[in-house]
Amino acid sequence: MENAVIIVVGADKPGIVAGIASVLAQNNVNIIDISQTVLRGVFAMIMIVDISQSKQPLSRLREELQKKGKELNVEVSVYHEEVFKYMERI
């Protein structure tokens, strides 16, 4: 399994989860974990996804998600899980 972390930040409205999830589904990326929180007063969704079977390399997937983010008027950041593993775990 190879994981990535997706962070979606913006004003809350219907369709954000569906929009992001549909891009993931089209690329054969499985959602492992999903949580919603309020980040500095703004809606934030965090997803852990499995990219090992993804049709696209992570950089392309990031581009597609960010394009979708623009349509939905939210900011999308995508990081490889190793970034978190290196910075938060010894």
Binding site: V5, I7, S35, T37, L39, A44, I46, I48, P57, L58, S59, R62, S77, V78, Y79, H80, E81, E82, V83, F84, K85, Y86, M87, E88, R89
Partner: protein, 445 residues
């Protein structure tokens, strides 16, 4: 592996809001195989490096995209060109420089560093060639950088090299002088331009990494409001650990992809002219209302110690300069403090006793004369040699008066001309020769 929401948000905030990025990934290459008296042969061999360098460049971009982490610059460090001039005629200096510049330009490299020479105790024919061609070479190139190591704890300080360097410096365009430095005790593996070079005793090639991240430390201090110095130290140490880990992740990924050894992570915090990416900003967040105020030295010493301790835990491959950089023009807060007079040359000298930069990216007025600049460089090199530290001087001579500024743009920022003391030092700087190595030398046997 499970991550808490807080952990994820912390990393996201560092990368997206607090300007945490990788300052540079540097490919360090042993280029001594270029040595030949036949320039055509050297050119041919430099061309032979194109595919290697281009692959490095693409790999860095690939790693940056994979992890979603900004890598600000890609650099090459080569063996000091001094070695080439042991056999190559000095008349080829400009042609060689242009070939090296082209190697960088055509392969997407931001800087190529190593137009350098060692002249700690005296000048050899080859170090003299490098020194005497420095202004012509840097004025005619865009990415080439060079360094003269004119002092070391082992060998002493060479005033003749300092004087030649200042002669050349005064002939350089401002942007060219930002690519030249004079050093004492230069490390053989630093990824920081202009002192980066491929040192002796290294493998044929390696990957060195420099991290950035002052914004992250500044905001962690502001958010947590520590009440004791130990708490402050601990906060910085923990944050430095995370910053350094990011450097190691990127460096190792590039190294693995290319199949060449991973060299070092330089633990230094490096500022950029962007607001919120300032080392002086950290000192001010600690409670010194203006960098340069009394207490700044202690604050900087505490910062650097914590950065080194956190970093040392994060990577076993520590090297380079490792501390904190305080280049004046490249740090938005330092520039302001230099303009309002909170920082002068003597403050920078004092700060150099605890950091590794020395006096970096400050304008000097050509109208104040060369002698005072020579004196300033001698002060810094003497400090490096006596305290057994790496220190350097990178000043930008300008046709301007103290207090005036020139904007060099990009990472170089706004250069402020700072006033040198109006005291005649000519009788001292007209002495020639070298200062013998200090008593510390005897500790080495």
């Amino acid at each position: 592996m499970k991550y808490s929401v807080d952990e994820i948000i912390e990393v996201h905030r560092m990368l997206s809001e607090e300007d945490l990025d990788i300052r540079s990934v540097t490919l360090s290459i042993n280029t001594n195989f270029l040595i030949s008296s036949n320039f055509e042969e050297i050119k041919e061999k430099i061309r032979g490096l194109y595919s290697f360098v281009s692959k490095f460049s693409k790999t860095v971009e690939k790693v940056s995209e994979k992890y979603g982490i900004r890598i600000v610059t890609k650099r090459i460090a080569i063996s000091p060109v001094q070695f080439i001039f042991e056999v190559l005629s000095p008349s080829y200096s400009l042609s060689l420089a242009k070939e090296l510049d082209k190697l960088a330009e055509e392969n997407g490299i931001d800087y190529i560093s190593g137009y350098s020479a060692f002249a700690d105790r005296g000048l050899s024919k080859s170090s003299e060639t490098v020194l005497k061609s420095l202004s012509e070479v840097l004025n005619s190139t865009e990415r080439l950088a060079g360094m003269i190591n004119a002092g070391s704890t082992m060998a002493g300080v060479n005033i003749d090299a300092v004087k030649l360097f200042v002669d050349e410096l005064f002939k350089m365009k401002p942007e060219a002088s930002s690519r030249a430095t004079i050093m004492a005790n230069v490390p053989p593996d630093s990824p920081f331009v202009p002192s980066a070079h491929h040192g002796l005793g290294m493998p044929d090639s390696m990957i060195n990494v420099a991290v950035s991240g002052p914004g992250v430390i500044e905001s962690v201090i502001k958010r947590n409001k520590p009440t004791t110095l130990q708490e402050l130290h601990d906060l910085i140490k923990r944050t430095a650990f995370k910053i350094t880990r990011l450097g190691e992740l990127v460096g190792k990924a590039v190294s693995k992809e290319l199949g060449i050894p991973f060299g070092i992570v330089d633990l230094s915090l490096a500022p950029s002219p962007k607001i919120g990416d300032s080392v002086a900003g950290i000192i001010e967040a600690m409670g010194i209302s203006k960098m340069g105020g009394h207490g700044s030295l202690m604050a900087l010493a505490l910062l650097i110690d914590a950065v080194k301790k956190g970093g040392a835990m994060a990577t076993s491959s520590v090297g380079g300069l490792s501390g904190a950089f305080i280049p004046v023009s490249e740090d938005s807060v330092m520039v302001e403090r230099a303009i309002d007079g909170s920082i002068d040359f003597f403050t920078l000298l004092a700060l150099s006793s605890v950091c590794n930069t020395g006096i970096d990216m400050v304008g000097v007025s050509k109208r104040q004369g060369k002698d005072k600049v020579i004196g300033l460089i001698l002060d810094v090199l003497a400090m490096g040699v006596i305290l057994n530290k790496t220190l350097g001087v990178r000043v930008i001579p300008l046709d301007a008066n103290p207090g005036e500024t020139v904007d060099l743009g990009g990472l170089l920022g706004k250069v402020v001309v700072m006033k040198l003391k109006d005291i005649d030092v000519n009788n001292f700087t007209s002495l020639s020769g070298y200062m013998p190595s200090g008593i510390k030398r005897l500790e080495f046997g």
